[in-house]
């Protein structure tokens, strides 16, 4: 009878335990959890702050009793594994309530200790109104502190998934929330041209958003940022990032990888083949980056758990690596991404190009139709798709799941262009936005047109480049690039002689559809140096108005227009 000891519950540990039980009715399975809860919905924690999850007890999914009854798994809470004796194959377990230390023998050990929130070494970091969010106990403490003190002002430090979700849910609960992000934009899985729409939404919903600034000191009713700026804060939530929990593994002499997480082989075995490790504490192979990374996501953790269990029982599993797919709700918007963003791809030295399209997520005359902002990143010259980002009030996640699937299957722009997706006016358009992005990329790769990006437009305006706005005059009057010439697409052919042939010509409309038609008309009329502005006026306004948020720039438009 095999005895498996598992360190840590939640996604990684509990999934491993359940799969082992299904493969082996006789195995003795003991799962140790340091905290009082062996299984809870990690990703749902922030939603308790707004009342979307009305009761913190609902965050708990399984109890030691239900593990015992349903799966014959011996789950023990308040039990911290403090040391591993690898030679004799047992662990030391400390009861966190009584302090008693016992030992537990294992044939196979599974480490799923997770990752702990980073607390920066700054003045005030241990004040009682400073919180982190890792588990149900944490979120209850934070919630109680806010409610009991009727805290008016809350500062959330860190604009990653947890920081944004905590900020959003506290804002929905009626608090004054400041969100402080040290990078130049929140949610760095997105590129900065896409993230501005999320900045707009956070600000529109009343979050005091501060980017490009970090935490310097915590005082009793404020935080001071590196810039010297002071932000009112009766409660401070640190959501800066996480450290993989490697202490136990390292002290046992297991190899720690270059990323600082536990190193595992393709079957999730550590440097000791009797010890597996899964979840946020390990490093995983990123198939697009070609190297090991840390990726704290629930989906991959569950797959690792199952793969580790399968390997223990001789079931072959192909390790396909990770690509990093994720999604998040930001107030009224859905935002999702997969694969590499453009910034990372370029940092890695990959030869990539990107297109940014804005298209209706459903047929325009359906009541819930909204623009979907979609960015596709692909390798040149192969056309292999390596990433995408989608943001909109509709189903951004659906589009990203299609791209995640294509990336996994080594799909190209050409595959995406031809992809036959399900269509009904209520759910999409006959040519979905993902198809449209691929068509644009395909035309670009074939050299049928050229593009510039929204990030290039300020320079072009300042240089006095020749910019044609092909929207209708009423749209032009409501906000346009300074110096742009308004020649509506509907007048382009009769007024083409106004456009010079001896200088580069840059063309935009609202969402790049009309301008693309104009660019092609010019290209096929002898113009040789014409560029479409990818992202067009809507993208330009977002990029210029919300980038860096607090930085003041001379507007390059007569008025911003986000419609």
């Amino acid at each position: 009878m095999k005895k498996v000891v598992i360190v840590g519950g939640v996604a990684g540990g509990a999934s491993t335990a359940a799969r082992i039980r299904r493969l082996d009715e006789q195995a003795q399975i003991v799962m140790f959890e340091r905290g009082p809860h062996v299984s809870f919905s990690n990703c749902s924690l922030p939603f308790y702050l707004s009342g979307v999850v009305p009761n913190s007890k609902r965050l708990l999914m399984m109890t030691p009793d239900s593990f015992e009854q349903k799966h014959n798994i011996d789950a023990r809470v308040n039990s911290e594994v403090i040391a591993i004796n690898r030679d004799e194959q047992y662990v030391h377990v400390k009861n966190t309530v009584t302090g008693d230390v016992t030992t537990e023998r294992y044939d196979t050990l599974v480490l799923s200790p997770g990752a702990s929130p980073i607390v920066p070494n700054i003045p005030g970091n241990n004040l009682p109104h400073v919180f982190t969010v890792r588990n149900v106990v944490d979120i209850e403490k934070l919630h109680n502190a806010i409610v009991e003190n009727d805290a008016a002002n809350i500062a959330v430090i860190g604009g990653g998934f947890i920081g944004v979700e905590v900020a959003e849910n506290l804002r929905l609960a009626g608090r004054n929330v400041s969100l402080v992000q040290s990078a130049s934009h929140i949610l760095t899985s997105f590129d900065d041209d896409m993230a501005q729409l999320l900045h707009k939404e956070m600000l529109d919903e009343g979050v005091n958003l501060i980017v490009g600034d970090g935490l310097a000191e915590i005082h009793t009713s404020s935080v001071v940022l590196r810039s010297g700026k002071e932000v009112a804060a009766d409660i401070v939530v640190l959501a800066i990032g996480v450290h993989p929990e490697t202490k136990l593994a390292a002290e046992a002499g297991l190899t720690i990888g270059e990323t600082g997480a536990i190193a595992v082989n393709e079957n999730y075995q550590t440097s000791d083949s009797n010890i597996y490790a899964v979840g946020d504490a390990i490093e995983v192979y990123h198939r697009l980056m070609g190297k090991k990374v840390r990726l704290a996501l629930a989906g991959p953790a569950q797959r690792q758990a199952r793969a580790a269990a399968d390997h223990m029982y001789g079931i072959p599993v192909t390790n396909k690596g990770v690509i990093g797919s994720s999604s998040i709700q930001v107030f009224n918007y859905a935002a999702a991404s997969t694969g590499l963003n453009e910034r990372t791809a370029k940092q890695l030295g990959l030869a990539v190009e990107a297109v940014y399209v804005i298209a209706p997520d459903k047929v325009g005359l359906m009541p819930s139709s909204n623009p979907l902002h979609f960015k596709l990143i692909y390798e040149v010259p192969t056309g292999r798709i390596i990433g995408a980002q989608a943001i909109g009030k509709g189903n951004a996640d659906k589009r990203i799941d299609v791209i995640a699937t294509l990336i996994t299957m080594n799909g190209t722009v050409d595959d995406l262009k031809e992809l036959e997706l399900s269509y009904s006016p209520m759910f999409s358009t006959a040519k979905d936005v993902v198809n449209i992005a691929a068509l644009v990329a395909n035309n670009l790769m074939a050299g049928r047109f050229q593009q510039v990006r929204v990030s290039d437009v300020r320079r072009l305006v300042e240089e006095g480049a020749y910019i044609v706005d092909v929207r209708e005059p009423n749209e032009f009057a409501n906000g346009a690039l300074k110096g742009a010439v308004n020649i509506p697409l509907s007048q382009l052919r009769e007024r083409m002689n106004e456009i010079p042939t001896d200088v580069p010509v840059y063309v935009h409309c609202r969402s790049a559809q009309r301008s693309y038609n104009a660019v092609m008309a010019l290209n096929n009329s002898g113009y040789t140096n014409v560029f479409n502005v990818s992202g067009s006026f809507l993208g330009i306004c977002l990029y210029e108005c919300y980038r860096d948020v607090t930085e003041q720039r001379e507007p390059i438009v007569t008025a911003y227009n986000f419609k």
Copy 2:
């Protein structure tokens, strides 16, 4: 200067014209449309009946004026092309208002005539209260007739996409609607085990649904069905199906394929290489069936249009064939499918297996979480995915788009199992329902467990088979299979000795998750003949209660339970 004449607007013709213009600024493009509207949202027509589209003018997308102004395309409405002179390359065009006939020369001709609604040859088929739905004029006529006569009772004949959408939108408008479908279930892209959920929804929303019965006669205030049944009908809508419009092509001597639609090669050229054809009038290659089929869908029509235009200009396009992806809203449900259904696959003699899973579409504690019913069809022994169906109140379409992508990329059950999709509690679960279906299929293919289907359960109950219901006693009390033994999963191990080892054992719970754990526990405890019921009690209730709708059967359950 090339002159292209296009017969028919809407998805096929208008898309061809626009792409040609983008590729060739000089081409002369003339587009003839028989009706008064050159471009409208075909798939949105039914939504005018409920007021979701408040004004029929909004269904119109482009006018001859906007084609002229934006694309320099000469679009002529009320112009029916009545004959083709292939030798001298011109067409005869009849003005449907004046009756005048003129000719128009072409270098290249594109046929996009579409398909016309079938009107069965039965008594009463030409009465003035009988309608079909093909274009804006049709839907206005139907709408006006209903409103002007305040028609109380409407019979919709045909349970395909148009029939279901017309029935739903008329029901939403407060009419008494009967929907008559000759097949045993509506929406035959679904298998009958999945379609029952849609039957339930139609009935719950007050549609008088009749399946397995056809139209025999139309009277002034009723229709008589083949069974002799009479259904009140002040208005009759025929939505039985469509005929490809092949008359023009056939009379010009172009080859008509075995399916009865216009035959084209891989570049959408007809048997005359100067004549292309696209859209609902042509037959296309189904890559999963390995043969030509008719497929009247807007997405493929647009891709064909673009491919035809590209081929005219020497741009290579890979024809990947079609797989048949579609989606539809049915009141509160979204229903989507792709690839082959199980019925068709088996008719074709393919070796397939299918799994039916019911899982939350979002994390269970999120307010909008609902069960998603998902069926995956795959080839054995290869595991190649060949179809899927999804129905639920959430995003069924998103799951089907993932499968459509996998099918196109020749993905397998193993690929789907490992697929890293975007996850947030608001949008999905860490292991999405599509991953779960693949895991079930993977276990099944590996021989780790066996299953029976909901369609087998009646026979098993009647034979007195040994059926174990592993739900909790309170669930069992609210409806259970007659003769089933209730041994909750939580008591399985202590009561396993009650389960005989010498007969087949069939196990179910509500949604097959708990029963799967029970099956594995039995399999790993020496039982050799244990079967999980795919679809479980929820699927059984739907199948038994709503199949054939009007047929009375002795219940095999003590009470139906759809929660």
